[in-house]
Subunit: 343 residues, 2 copies
């Protein structure tokens, strides 16, 4: 097992990355590769772990930052001879020198680099970005959370096929319940895309439970929920923002309170609150998003990831390799396509 | 000032409605009209307020319930001689016998009934459902939260015009900051609809601040945020669901805790937590959604509304009448249309 970590991904890189590779190496025992500018990374790595750090360093002189955007970013990601840490790291997976790539860097840059360098799984129209949402009683695979702002019905069906494979392989759910995010539960509800997707999912052979709303998604009614990447991204980011608004409100309410009772209670309850919220909302716990549908395992973590979040993403990558996720995805997409052709 | 309340709207109707009309009558002093089946409402009203209750009762024998859905609902709402409480109540506004209509009933039924009976404001293509979202430091007018699952760019511009009038008239913001909900802040981000809407909003003469994400919306960066009704409905319902998940998690974490410290702290802090969350998330505080763009003031509350939520919706209706919202909406739509024609 060989996992590559982008050394230049997170907002405060490379420190969290350096700590994470060393910790992962110790924790999991197998090879971890760090990719990025050698002149920057080697001295810091040696300062942390001595002259012969137990981590392989692969040189990549260029970096795609969070400031890279739009067309310029696409061109940078697409460049054939690119030497960015994203390109060099993903090439290691492409060339069979590593099993999975993990980054906390620019999501758009990572998706574009992975797409151009690895290509989509044979027959697949659009890779999708899948997140694992914390919901009542467990986790829910949600996709697309941002790869494809505009989708066709068949794209959503393919997301559902891949999401179900994910839930089977990694959450060990035999027949994952698949929901379609909509503005109402009844079959006729939805926008044009959702209304056209519904009958396709119903005929897909998946365990399709129909339209779901936010209440069902967060209530744990489905194991997989699909939507276009625009809607999924709005869902993801507004959920994060609501969570922040609530926790900010609670803590400022406790702080501002003139009641001694509330102040004291706040102090006593603080660790438990923190525990509850961390478990549900911390990117370190929620982990990284997986780009499903390219020829290689690529995990993209939150820019705010700390070393703990990165180790957790590396663990997720290892689990995906162990569960043989890539082969399962390829087989399911093939089965889906031949089924569609038969109909 | 004469406000009509649908007697048969909320999930536990008519009790909350009966209490609300009596309370509103006492609180605001002006006429309140209750509409619904007289044989059901009169005895209960008299039981609460004596033989001559200070509230006018208008008979409507039929009811649209939460179970009415899809095409059947549309037909029921469209029927010309309809005697549902929605139809009779909205007709009072149409015929000038009342100034605004408030219901906590079936949102789709209320929107369809209002649209068919009142018609859209001259020149307007699509009425929009506007909600007032609690955000950092105040409120944000968000629309469309469910009237139009499929929209064209011009619809979103008209929503922005109406949302700005709402913020001016009711939040007293002179030059409301208008945002476009998107999956990224940069101008090129968004789905097809958002990318086509951006230049129209930039040229609209409104105080357009560009694309906003959940963070900016809930962070209070805009006074008005527009989107299609599918996306808005997903935003609304997933926000509610996340809020519920978090508060449930906190309270179950405190309950399940074995630590005496946490248990004690939980008891002490409970009223403050409740206060903070109620203020931010209670439908009674958030109030009702307004259907903007039909020829009459129509407010639609949450089905879960209690009497306090209904009184709060009646207060919102009164404020809209006092602020001359209808005339302001008509004038702004006219101004927008002639500006668009000039271009």
């Amino acid at each position: 097992m060989r996992i590559v970590l982008d050394g230049m991904g997170s907002d405060t890189c490379p420190e969290p990355e350096l700590v994470a590779v060393l910790e992962a190496r110790q924790k999991f025992g197998d090879e971890v590769i760090l990719v990025g500018p050698e002149d920057q990374l080697r001295p810091r790595l040696q300062a942390l772990a001595g002259d012969n750090p137990p981590v392989k360093l692969v040189h990549a002189p260029e970096v795609i930052t969070m400031e890279d955007k739009g067309l310029a970013l696409a061109l940078k990601a697409k460049r054939k001879g690119s030497k960015t840490s994203l390109a060099v790291g993903i090439d290691l997976v492409k060339n069979g020198e590593a099993d999975a790539f993990v980054t906390a860097g620019n999501t758009g840059g990572a998706m574009a680099t992975a797409y151009y360098r690895l290509g989509p799984i044979a027959g697949l129209e659009r890779p999708g970005l899948a997140g694992l949402f914390p919901v009542q009683g467990g986790d829910c695979v949600v996709l697309d959370i941002g790869a494809n702002p505009d989708c066709k019905p068949e794209h959503l069906v393919q997301f559902a096929v891949m999401g179900a494979v994910y839930a089977q392989s990694l959450l060990r759910i035999q027949s994952p319940r698949v929901g379609l995010l909509s503005n109402g539960e009844e079959p006729g509800k939805g926008n044009e895309l959702v209304r056209a997707t519904y009958p396709l999912l119903a005929a897909s052979g998946l365990n399709f439970i129909g339209n779901v709303e936010g209440k069902e998604l967060y209530g744990g009614a489905a194991d997989v929920v699909v939507m276009d990447g625009f809607t999924g991204n709005i869902l993801l980011k507004s959920s994060e923002a609501v969570a922040k608004l609530i926790t900010d409100t609670i803590s400022s309410e406790i702080k501002a309170s003139k009641s001694l009772r509330t102040k004291l209670g706040g102090l006593l309850v603080k660790p438990a609150l923190k525990g509850a919220l961390m478990k549900k909302l911390d990117p370190a716990e929620v982990g990284a998003a997986r780009l499903l549908g390219v020829n290689g395992l690529v995990l993209i973590g939150h820019g705010r990831s700390d070393s703990r979040a990165l180790v957790s993403a590396i663990r997720m990558a290892r689990e995906a390799v162990q569960a043989n996720l890539m082969d399962n995805l390829r087989a399911s997409i093939q089965a889906h396509l031949s089924k569609s052709q038969d109909q």
